[in-house]
């Protein structure tokens, strides 16, 4: 094929024949905006952002699908093209939550909330885990338009969470088709495709089957290629954008696939394929389980030695010295059992140690049946008394077998019955924590960089063996790093092939890692039928607790919940809150009372799904019971006659101001209620609020209804209009209340806010909720929640609210309800069916 020359934006460009205009432009360094295009995908022409003008060609062809031809004259920038692209972008954004992009407070808000809120549905960028990496957002911000000519059409799909490892929020989907196209490219037959038609069109599996039964191999490519936050990795998503990416390899089976290790603050958050091709793809274990094994909370973190019946944690020297003093006694009766998943350097040193001590080395492959098979002979030897001591690099020997030995050292990363019975336990760094090289089944040697920090005192095995050997007085172990060992390894054998093709099917995954059942540490793997040790059942009494009488999602993420709680209902007053625990294992979380009925004994709440606790609550169906409801708590807001009062509510605050408005109006005030939401479709309780106010004013951040902006803009307008406001009460997120306080301060209008710091007991016992008001420390739970907004130390409140942001992410549930998988979700379905729209 020859080259052709064409002109793009006045620049002469030479490219190979067969390239598209988009490719030609890129080669010439000319940027054409695009979303659906991806270098690893065939041209598709879905998003229509890449339109260009070509001399002599009518209309605006998409550059991604138009082949460049000799002598072509192309314009990628023009007023018309900009208008066209902005229209296209607007069209895309009308089906994608966009209020943050057009919000006048965006920058201030993002400064105060640098991380995304862990909401259920992403109704705006601030709720989206993909915010930092979103192509659509980037493009919109670059376009600089913060006016939208089209209404937002929120599609209201349920977030799909029943599959392991993936969260899917199709409300964000712009139908660029990258996911199914990459699936088709990599796997031939895509597991997902566009289902339904017209405005019901969305991505999905055939017949709404679970991905587990749809032929999906959980390679994660759809997640990794998705330009929006539609498809996400459940474990990694809320940690934010990784700050480092390193080429490494998976050592969980003999295939040894290359992967990128993504880390944030030297913690492994995800592993993903190195490029979007079948050859580079990963299995579910490599893509999703590896990071979770590394991050398992159960990891061994300190050495221990056995004394009598007890295992005593100790420092490294003590543990190594004990091992070093005992091991040389055994020589030929010592066996060293090592997993093939360790690095070549580790195994080289294990082999050298075995050789120097005259011990036998047994290398156990990671394959499905390998562990048992490989160990059969060894176990028989053990039983025959051939060995009297063992060094075990994993969960290979039962506690029983170890007990029969004179001495045992376990060098491992996770607890096991064997480790509990061992004389010495040494915690090992593994996988992404260890530097070294690894040979895979096809003989390739791959580099493994150490990219994440090991937990506690865990050390890499090469280091452990060197230190152990040196303590025994053995020579040839004076290495300062794994790299020094690499050149000595020479021609080590490739691992024995794995008896399955993990990348081709979920039933072919290796079930063990260092002898441990992988599903014991990464429970969602159970969904693939992988063996695991049953968990202890948490017994929850269903008879006790507080029955849920009503539950509905009034707007996305906002749930109206009515609970039978007579003792609260009887005594509640406006402005008070309750503490709820969905289950016995839940946190105690505060929620403002929205309504109550003493005669019925019921209370009503608006719960916004923004993390584990609220998710646990809103997941309870009608008829189920909330484990604990305690309240009413906090000082009620005095219902006094003041004149004209303005009440501002945002998010859950829209519900929270309802009883306050009712009370203040009954007290004879002229009540003006202002409610704000990101967009019109997130407004709720308007009818109810109308009945308890003299005036209801609406504000939306995107201007889709009412005043564009927040309650503070409306408030300032009111004052400018000459309304004599005696008091302003703002209830909503911390940012909203702070903005309100800042707006009313120069006006000198008394302003109250309901502060929302982290609480534990809610009865004044712990002081977790302390806030500074005019330099004085107060407890929000008993002195508040209402305080003078102008005296609040907002920066302190923001910082204290973020104290557990990391733990709150770690607490997000990863478990999968196996029962939900057995019955494929959705009923009916099929092409053109609209029943997926719920």
């Amino acid at each position: 094929m020859g080259t052709i020359s064409l002109t793009i934006d006045g620049q002469g460009v030479e490219v190979q024949e067969g390239k598209t205009i988009l490719q030609a432009s890129r080669e010439a360094g000319i940027v054409i905006p695009t979303i659906c295009d991806h270098k690893d995908l065939n041209p598709y022409g879905a998003c229509r952002m890449c339109v260009v003008e070509i001399e002599g060609v009518r209309g605006f062809p998409t550059s991604c699908t138009t082949p460049a031809s000799d002598g072509m004259v192309v314009k990628t920038q023009s007023a018309e093209l900009t208008t066209l692209r902005n229209r296209t972008l607007e069209l895309m954004l009308s089906g994608h939550p966009n209020s943050c992009l057009v919000c006048v407070h965006r920058e201030a808000c993002e400064k105060y909330r640098p991380g995304a809120t862990k909401a259920g549905r992403a109704t705006r960028c601030g709720f989206c885990s993909n915010r930092e990496e979103c192509s659509l957002r980037e493009m919109a911000l670059r376009a600089g338009e913060n006016e939208l000519g089209l209404p937002t059409l929120y599609s209201a799909h349920n977030v799909e969470r029943s599959d392991p490892f993936m969260d899917r929020d199709y409300n964000l989907c712009i139908l660029c088709g990258r996911c199914w196209r990459i699936c088709e490219k990599i796997h031939g037959k895509p597991a997902i495709s566009i289902i339904n038609r017209g405005k019901w069109a969305r991505l999905g599996t055939a017949f709404h089957k679970s991905h587990v039964f749809s032929g999906c191999t959980f390679c994660g490519s759809c997640i990794d290629i998705c330009p929006t936050g539609t498809l996400t990795d459940r474990f990694a998503r809320w940690y934010g954008k990784p700050d480092d990416r390193n080429l490494s390899a998976c050592t969980l089976c003999a295939e040894g696939c290359s992967l990128f290790a993504l880390t944030k603050s030297r913690r492994l958050v995800a592993t993903r394929m190195t490029s979007f091709q079948w050859e580079a793809s990963l299995c579910a274990l490599g893509r999703f389980a590896l990071a979770q094994i590394v991050n398992a909370p159960e990891r061994l973190i300190r050495p221990a030695v056995q004394e009598g019946e007890d295992q005593i944690p100790c420092d490294w020297d003590t543990a190594l010295e004990l091992a070093a003093s005992e091991l040389p006694r055994f020589t030929e009766s010592l066996a060293i059992v090592v997993s093939e998943s360790t690095t070549r350097e580790d195994r080289f040193l294990y082999a050298r140690l075995a050789e120097r001590l005259g011990a036998s080395l047994i290398v156990v492959p990671s394959s499905r049946n390998g562990v048992e098979k490989e160990l059969q002979g060894f176990t028989a030897d053990l039983e025959k008394g051939r060995f009297r001591a063992v060094i075990s690099g994993g969960d290979f020997l039962s506690a029983e077998l170890l007990k029969g030995l004179n001495f045992s050292v376990v060098i491992d990363c996770l607890p096991s019955s064997g480790a509990r019975g061992a004389k010495v336990v040494l915690p090992a760094a593994v996988l992404s924590e260890v530097e070294g090289t690894w040979r895979n089944v096809s003989g390739e040697v791959k580099e493994l960089p150490a990219v994440s920090l090991p937990p506690g005192q865990a050390r890499p095995e090469w280091q452990i063996i060197c230190q152990l050997a040196q303590k025994m007085g053995l020579e040839g172990f004076e290495f300062k790093s794994a790299r020094e060992v690499t050149s000595l390894v020479g021609s080590d054998p490739a691992p024995r092939p794995f008896d399955g093709e993990p990348r081709r099917g979920l039933r072919q995954l290796p079930s063990r890692f260092r002898g441990h059942l992988a599903a014991d540490w990464v429970r969602p793997l159970e969904a693939f039928g992988m063996p695991s040790t049953p968990l202890e059942e948490m017994t929850e009494s269903s008879k006790e607790g507080f029955e849920i009488l009503e539950r509905r999602e009034v707007v996305p993420n906002m749930y109206f919940i009515k609970i039978m709680a007579p003792q609260v209902a009887k005594f509640a007053k406006p402005g008070q809150f309750v503490i709820l625990m969905a289950r016995e294992t839940s946190e105690r979380s505060p929620f403002t009372l929205v309504d109550w009925n003493g005669a019925e004994g019921t209370i009503s709440l608006i719960i916004e799904e923004v993390g584990r606790s609220s998710r646990e609550l809103i997941s309870l169906p009608v008829g189920a019971r909330v484990a604990h409801v305690s309240g009413p708590l906090g000082m009620p807001l005095p219902m006094e006659k003041k004149g004209t009062v303005v009440l501002g509510g945002g998010c859950y605050g829209i519900g929270a101001i309802y009883p306050i408005a009712r009370g203040l109006r009954e007290a004879g005030n002229h009540v003006i209620v202002v409610i704000e939401a990101s967009s019109s479709y997130l407004l709720f309780m308007e009818d109810e609020l109308k009945t308890v106010s003299d005036e209801l004013i609406i504000a939306t951040k995107d201007g889709s209804r009412g005043t564009r902006g927040g309650v503070q803009e409306v408030f300032v307008n009111l004052v400018q209009r000459g309304v004599d406001v005696a008091m302003f009460v703002a209830v909503g997120c911390t940012f909203m209340m702070r903005m309100a306080a800042e707006a009313t301060k120069p006006l000198g209008i008394p302003t109250l806010v309901a502060l929302n710091p982290i609480m534990v007991d809610g009865t004044g016992m712990c002081g977790a909720c302390r806030v500074s008001i005019e330099g004085r420390t107060r407890f929000a739970c008993v002195d508040g929640p209402f305080f003078d907004a102008h005296g609040v130390d907002w920066d302190e409140l923001f910082s204290r609210r973020s104290a557990y942001s990391r733990e709150e992410i770690e607490a997000m549930p990863q478990m999968v309800d196996l029962n939900a998988l057995i019955h494929p979700h959705g009923s009916g379905g099929g092409c053109g069916s609209s029943c997926s729209h719920r």
């Binding site: 506690g456 294992t585 105690r588 604990h628 305690s630 309240g631 708590l633 712990c766 420390t777 008993v782």
Partner: protein
């Protein structure tokens, strides 16, 4: 099963023990190795075996005028129960204990015996006192583990209904006594689990929560109703309780309001009241995160300010969360109000002590996270009102201790929720409820109070002692006569600050 009362074990037990008593030393209790236990939440002392218990019980002289009984805030008939243990009649020993003490398994573990019963043991004059606390614990554990505790006898129903506010040591005691005497008792508890400080405050490694729940369930077997998540003062007031359907009210809401130092930096991230720190770990089980959803504290270096039992609990809990742990206390070791055993355990486990040291300010980074604490050296001056020598700052002795977590454990004030909403109940300037020392009745007729809400922060057993007193007074108030098994009154024992 023999009857629980009337046997006079004194003479017999004494005679039997006489031959051995001079040779037998005080029996140590096996403990979890400090090197191991500093990393786990399992109980530290592991209790006597049957043999050791009999041996230790044999040391008791069975004094006729037993000083130990006077030292006990609830006047347990100590020689009596010890005599039964010496004879191997363990369950009967428990029943003997239960005559006076509703929670022997708890008290055996958390009472400051060295300053109470054991301080008055005659053997202690020349050698070491009888290990009364350990024997008490043994009897209770034995009976619980062997399932041999018969249901206590209950008097016929009186038709009287009593509200007990707070399911802590005082409330549990009052409820237990009144229920046995045939009254209808309802306990109102603000938190989601009953037990009060026994659940949220005292750590698992010192008092396993299963034991507390066992004691609570035996209370329920007596017919006591426990309404958790019910906050008197918020959900309902004392006045409403009396108006509605209760004949008397007992307030045992404790001292749950944490005191802070009032120094700069105290609202930084990483500064906790001991209450919050211990509540997160004990009540909310944050050490089992993420199974339990409450965010755990993950300290690397902890400073605990204070010298009481709560400070020791916090410092030792910090170790178990994987941190280095330092106590900062402004007086010297001999003024520390903590139980000797707790200080000893803390030292054994590796808690460092900065004595005669007072915090000046907490240092923070730009994100408002704790980075350390500036302290001042102190020296001891003349005794102050508490009889302890007053610490005086040494000028210019400022120094910095690096830390990422600071736990403030300098005491608690009475919980104001109930008195706030019941103006007729008179309180002192400190917020404690004023009661008649004989009857524990407050200024509002029919409303009694006891425990830390009356005495200010004190011990579990003193709260129980007041509870017993209040229970008798409530019975007399309602029935006009002494309760069935009323015991002679003894003077109130003031115990040390906790």
């Amino acid at each position: 099963m023999a009857k629980m009362t009337e046997e006079k074990t004194g003479a017999r037990g004494g005679a039997q023990a006489k031959s051995k008593k001079k040779k037998t030393p005080r029996q140590p209790m096996p403990e979890q190795d400090p090197r191991r236990r500093r990393h786990n939440f399992e109980e530290v002392p592991q209790g006597y075996s049957e043999e050791t218990a009999i041996l230790e019980a044999g040391r008791c002289l069975q004094c006729k005028k037993a000083g130990c009984i006077q030292g006990c805030p609830v006047n347990i008939h100590i020689p009596g129960f010890i005599g039964l243990i010496a004879e191997g009649r363990f369950v009967e020993a428990l029943l003997k204990l239960k005559e006076q003490n509703a929670l022997p398994a708890v008290c055996g573990r958390v009472c400051p015996q060295e300053s109470q019963c054991e301080a008055l043991c005659i053997l202690g004059k020349k050698g070491e006192p009888v290990a009364i606390g350990r024997l008490e614990r043994f009897a209770a554990d034995y009976a619980r583990e062997h399932g041999g505790v018969p249901d206590p006898e209950q008097a016929p129903a009186t038709g009287k209904k009593i509200a007990v506010i707070g399911a802590g040591p005082a409330g549990i005691t009052v409820a237990g006594e009144l229920a046995r005497w045939g009254h209808d008792v309802v306990i109102f508890e603000a938190l989601h689990l009953a037990g009060g400080v026994l659940m949220y405050g005292i750590p698992q490694f010192r008092l396993p929560k299963e034991i507390v729940q066992y004691e609570i369930s035996s209370l329920q077997k007596l017919g006591v109703e426990i309404r958790t998540d019910y906050i008197i003062g918020k959900t309902q007031t004392v006045d409403q309780l009396l108006e509605e359907d209760f004949d008397a009210v007992f307030i045992g809401t404790g001292a749950g309001l944490p005191v802070f130092l009032g120094i700069p930096g105290e609202n930084a991230i990483g500064v906790f009241s001991a209450n919050e720190f211990l509540t997160r770990v004990n009540l909310m089980k944050a050490y089992d995160f993420p199974k339990y959803a409450t965010s755990p504290i993950r300290p690397r270096q902890v400073i605990t300010v204070g010298g009481g039992n709560v400070a020791m609990d916090s410092a030792r809990t910090s170790l178990r969360l994987g941190a280095g742990s330092t106590i900062v206390y402004r007086r010297s070791r001999s003024e520390m109000p903590a139980r000797a055993e707790e200080i000893h355990h803390a030292e054994e486990e590796g808690v460092e002590f900065h004595l005669l040291t007072n915090p000046v300010r907490i240092l923070t980074d730009e994100k408002n996270h704790v980075t350390g604490m500036e302290c001042l050296k102190m020296e001891l001056g003349e005794p102050d009102a508490s009889g302890r020598r007053r610490p005086i700052p040494v000028e210019g002795s400022n120094f910095i201790i690096p830390a990422d977590t600071v736990i403030i454990s300098i005491g608690n004030q009475p919980n104001p929720l109930v008195p706030q909403t019941s103006p007729e109940i008179e309180v002192t300037r400190k917020g404690t409820i004023i009661t008649d020392p004989e009857t524990m009745m407050s200024s509002k007729p029919g409303v009694f109070a006891g425990g830390d809400i009356v005495s200010g922060a004190a011990t579990v057993i003193s709260a129980m002692g007041q509870g017993k007193k209040a229970a008798r007074a409530i019975h007399r108030y309602l029935m006009g006569e002494d309760p069935p098994e009323a015991n002679p009154e003894t003077p109130d024992n003031d115990t040390q600050e906790d």
